[in-house]
Symmetry: C2
Subunit: 439 residues, 2 copies
Amino acid sequence: MRVTVEEAGGGSISMSPKAPQVTVRRPQIVILGAGFGGLAAAMGLRHANADVTVIDRRNYHLFQPLLYQVATAGLSPAQIAMPIRRILSRQFNVTVLMERVEGIDKESRIVQTANRRVAYDYLVVATGARHAYFGNDEWEETAPGLKTIADATEIRSRILSAFERAEAAEEEAERKRFLTFVVVGGGPTGVELAGAIAELARKVIIRDFRRIDPSSARVVLVEAGDIVLPAMPPELSEEARRHLEMLGVDVLLQEPVTRCDAQGVALAGGREIRSSCVLWAAGVMASKAAKWLDVPADRAGRVHVDGNLNPPGYSDIFVIGDTAAVTDKSGRQVPGVAPAAKQMGQHAARAILARLDGRAIGPFGYRDFGNLATIGRKAAVADFGRLRLSGFAAWLVWNIAHLWFLVGFRNRAVVFMDWALAYVRYDRSARLITDRHER
Amino acid sequence: MRVTVEEAGGGSISMSPKAPQVTVRRPQIVILGAGFGGLAAAMGLRHANADVTVIDRRNYHLFQPLLYQVATAGLSPAQIAMPIRRILSRQFNVTVLMERVEGIDKESRIVQTANRRVAYDYLVVATGARHAYFGNDEWEETAPGLKTIADATEIRSRILSAFERAEAAEEEAERKRFLTFVVVGGGPTGVELAGAIAELARKVIIRDFRRIDPSSARVVLVEAGDIVLPAMPPELSEEARRHLEMLGVDVLLQEPVTRCDAQGVALAGGREIRSSCVLWAAGVMASKAAKWLDVPADRAGRVHVDGNLNPPGYSDIFVIGDTAAVTDKSGRQVPGVAPAAKQMGQHAARAILARLDGRAIGPFGYRDFGNLATIGRKAAVADFGRLRLSGFAAWLVWNIAHLWFLVGFRNRAVVFMDWALAYVRYDRSARLITDRHER
């Protein structure tokens, strides 16, 4: 453990106003990103005799598994997001900075943000992933993806506006185009979005229009592969497809999208679907960490790390969560899910604590607690290894699991109340069309 | 009552899919705006044998008296807004259209929107007001006003970002500028904003920062007149000023703003206040109704109407709420508050119903239920004529009154729960910095 004595403010950026004039320079740990991984790392360092700096370009931690509910008007943004400062306010060795990372100098051990240079002794990179269009970036304008709160409120506005435009439309063809919703990608996000849109149309807003019948809306889930939820066991994938179709979702498999514009989508099989509302859930690309670090990455931009979550040759840098391509000690590729990110964050914290003590710890091992996806308000599929659930039982498990992991009591209680009320009244509380360009 | 028989769809725009092939042409009533006035008019027409069309450019009704709580992170947008369709979904003679009004042809009785022409027999104009800069429109960029949800989330982002920037600032002068908040205008909105920002800084986020002391933030309320809350009796205005100062707000009276830019504001007395966050609550201008109708208006753009709420010479047009300059039958100028707008909407509905029956009703009379303004979480001032309250009792009355008038049970329950939790925990639930330009 490197300890030097220097003038206050010399290299430390976490000086409290009450700090004495001369202080011991404590190890500097910098964490980039306050998602599940970064937050777990910060919390794992709560007893560290070190200065921890958490840098995120947003001021909130987002509970991403419920983001699709914001996009479909079931929850408000503040119900699934919490200020990072609030979460860490009582952890006094942590300073939170809202900054955008622009680069990393791994030789001088400096993180460069838009406004400052932050020195580190240990660095945890947990900057996540973003949806990707695989060479068709121009599709983003017509087919937004779902990763941030701004994405979610934009998608919510598009879905709700489509019904408004259908109500106002004079021509049958236009009305039909406004009432057709296309979700591209059959992973958990795509399945959840398609199910929630179908329910919104068929159950929630059914009495609110006069000139259109919202339940006549067509919801199409387009997947390039031959099943939905490919990470699930085949019988649960099949069960999920069946539930989607019961909700009235058209599931089109083995249909890669070949074109995507304001008119709708064209599929590899030659089919064209006219739609004013196309949503993208077909793939993700890791953050720019590999570029910042100048280290090898896989095709999805994820940094190759060793069993200690270090890029080869840099034992002071940990890359975790969706930004890392990790094979755990059992030789298995770790999936890009929230529990995995959390476990990697905890591992990074333990490894740093051990190094500060001059110890070493064993490699990262992923503990798989199971895999869950929900389809509408009454069904889900859940894979816990030997135990596999589908239907209402899985949906209950899904709800309890998600409430349990929501950060903060307040959010948990409010989300529970919203869900309970929504379940009883079949209402959606947050049906607001807000325009980000509007003053 | 004019009744003609014609082919379905001939002139009616509210055809339901289940309507018979031949229908009676019912009177067409068009309501512009679904604020307190427009909504009250629509609801007052629930038994009318007429087709009612409500046109609003937003899809939600906004409970504006609580908008300052969204701007200061106390409530989420969906807690004070509700889809217009949802509110009116069971009133089957109403069709809701989300359209922007572009003009009115009062001779042909046509409302022109961006996409269509809507014919009316009776027209209710309830398009409200917007904040105004009185010839200094360029101030809007640095000093946003508070009228819409987009305004509120923008202000929320600016307030919270100011603290973030202060935490990151390297220079004392910059830090001070980021920690100075200026609210221009001492009416109810200005008083509520200033009080809520002071509480946010001194009570809510007090433990969340490491390098700044949020309670050192300076909140300045600048008013051109010589009192705050000029609509209140002088002793309550004085009480409000005292409560603001107890919360740590600097109240500067008789100080018109002479300049407003990215550096801060300059005041008529020569003083300059450096601030990165200036908010505008200094005045409103009515919507463009007077221009659309080509009728006389007062300096604030409000249409001069007679005792029946009609612009002179147009008994088929009612102008109500903040869009109208109304002197009621007691000779008193009706204030621009929500209860007045509601009462005008109810009056317009009754007048239209009477005309449809060939009857006439007396002129509009405003019933004043009192005047309320809140200052932080424990104090308010309330004027009920002979009964005048201030402090905690007034605050309780304020809360009950606002909960009571919130549209819809669900919102009422959720807002109540939020307030109760916030009161106990001194937390603000919605502290999100969301960027409208962000993808």
